[in-house]
């Protein structure tokens, strides 16, 4: 594989950038693989990469219905954070933060990781108390957390509404300085390029149509490009998990919902951090191009449509304008939607299943992108060793039977309410 560096950039400039190697190949599927990963999104690509890198398993295929990076890894708001209170979430995400920090070097691909800090705004004394508790829990788990008062918030985001008669005055906020953003497409492409170079077959435009299970053991996958045998199969298809589960006669604690995001026209740099509104569901950051990147609530009813509905967008942006009044002056550039696995306790599932050799990675709710490296790393471990790693032990499928729920937000099973 050609190494990307300033020298390769200069060298290729002399030939008008016409002679770059392809970043990954377009192979036809083989008859059999050791491991098949279904889903060529961020998590699937990361899983294949860590299978090859950490476990030396390279006879691997990634099967993707569309094109790699065309699903949620290309549809998110690029936020990376580990500001969780519960141990399972906090330790898992913080492990991921380490991988994020090293990712550009590790993949020899600039993922533009920008640890600009996230501020969760508080709008009441009670919320300040809750944030102080969450911040303390984070610090006990070795994650940086700073409780900001009103003046400290105002210093960092003076454009927020600090005027007198506002409905939700800003009391302060909880900040994780090490949180940030990254270029989402680059994450998918970086993982794909490295996985491909280590021998992983990335097979696009290949839809799974069924599974071959014999005596409780997975033996292969049926696809639109023929049957492929496999010793192990990993499902990494958040958003479409229920569709594949139905083929396997499994019913999961997951509902599929649509989440919208949008960007404004680009403006000069004015927002240094990721900021979330505390009295509703709205978050905002500024991209390197200058666009304000915004998101918020789910559309609110089961959906597989990958495109959003106006009432929700209107509601979310109303919250945005309450937080940052200047947003009302901006024009909208783009809106889009992605479909989410909403799990019944708000936390993901990375586990084995009752079928031997079949592994499940799903239920990412609002937080799939930031989990990409940690999810791939732990899922690769779970597949390679046929047992969960301690980092994803809490993300078990049977926690819904044992009662060990990880209900970070305590929302219950009405997954569409936020």
């Amino acid at each position: 594989m050609q190494k990307y560096s300033v020298f390769s950039l200069i060298k290729n400039a002399f030939s008008d950038h016409q002679n770059w190697e392809v970043a990954w190949k377009d192979p036809t599927p083989k008859k059999e693989y050791d491991v098949i990963i279904i889903g060529g999104g961020g998590h699937g690509l990361a899983t294949a990469y860590y299978l090859a890198k950490e476990h030396n398993i390279t006879n691997v295929a990634i099967i993707e219905k569309g094109w790699i990076g065309g699903g949620n890894v290309g549809r998110n708001t690029t936020i990376i954070r580990s500001n969780y209170m519960h141990d399972d979430n906090a330790l898992f995400s913080e492990f991921g933060m380490d991988l994020w920090r090293k990712m550009s070097q590790d993949l020899n691909y600039n993922v533009m990781f920008s640890p600009r800090g996230i501020i969760n705004l508080a709008h009441s004394d009670a919320q300040m108390n809750a944030y102080s508790r969450r911040g303390n829990s984070m610090r006990l788990n070795g994650i940086d957390a700073v409780l900001l008062n009103r003046e400290e918030v105002q210093k960092r985001i003076p454009m927020a509404d600090f005027s007198d008669n506002v409905r939700f005055p800003i009391f302060g906020g909880l900040m994780q300085p090490s949180a940030g953003t990254a270029r989402h497409d680059a994450v998918a492409w970086g993982y794909a390029r490295q996985a491909d170079s280590m021998g992983v077959d990335i097979i696009q435009n290949c839809e799974v149509t069924g599974f071959d299970v014999t005596n409780g053991k997975i033996v292969g996958v049926r696809t639109s490009r023929g049957d492929i045998k496999a010793k192990k199969v990993g499902l990494c298809v958040a958003g479409s998990t229920n569709i594949l589960a139905e083929m396997l006669n499994m019913t999961l604690p997951i509902e599929t919902h649509l989440l919208q995001a949008c960007v404004s026209e680009p403006v000069k740099p004015l927002l240094d951090h990721v900021v979330t509104f505390g009295a509703g569901h709205f978050y905002c950051s500024q991209s390197d191009k200058g666009e304000m990147v915004m998101g918020g609530d789910l559309d609110g009813y089961n959906s597989y449509s990958q495109r959003g509905n106006l009432p929700t967008l209107q509601h979310v942006l109303t919250e945005g304008i309450a937080m940052f009044p200047f947003l009302s002056k901006l024009k909208m550039l783009r809106t889009w939607g992605g479909i989410m696995d909403m799990s019944m306790d708000g936390s993901p599932i990375i586990d084995k299943t009752h079928i031997d050799g079949l592994y499940l990675n799903c239920g990412w709710c609002y937080g799939g992108f930031k989990a990409t490296p940690a999810s791939g790393w732990t899922f690769a471990h779970t597949i390679a060793q046929d047992r969960v790693h301690e980092l994803n032990a809490g993300y078990s499928l049977n926690r819904f039977n044992t009662g060990d729920l990880i209900d970070e937000k305590g929302l219950g099973t009405k997954t569409w309410i936020s």
Partner: protein, 89 residues
């Protein structure tokens, strides 16, 4: 914007409604001995199909009645709506 036909009020915009989730989930019968597994399945498991989905909506800014709506989860087409106690096809 979805337009939902409320069997009590007629066609109204989605803004008047609150979603109530999968209407096919059945609570186990009262006073019947059931296993923990059956109860967990009722509380947590959802089919969440792509295609036809029977779901509950609450006409919260209208007549405040619960209704059942048969809707396609990929096209958002609404096929039929029912009163809450009405039998569905």
């Amino acid at each position: 914007m979805l337009y939902i036909f409320c069997p009590h009020c007629g066609s109204r915009s989605q803004n008047e409604f609150a979603y109530g989730g999968d209407a096919t989930v059945k609570r186990p019968e009262l006073n019947k001995e059931i296993s923990d597994q059956e109860w967990d399945n009722f509380v947590y498991l959802r089919k969440s199909p792509r295609g036809k989905h029977l779901e509950l909506w609450h006409h919260i800014s209208g007549c405040r009645q619960w209704i059942k709506v048969e809707r396609d989860t990929s096209t958002h087409e609404i096929f039929k709506t029912y009163k809450a106690d009405e039998l569905t096809e």
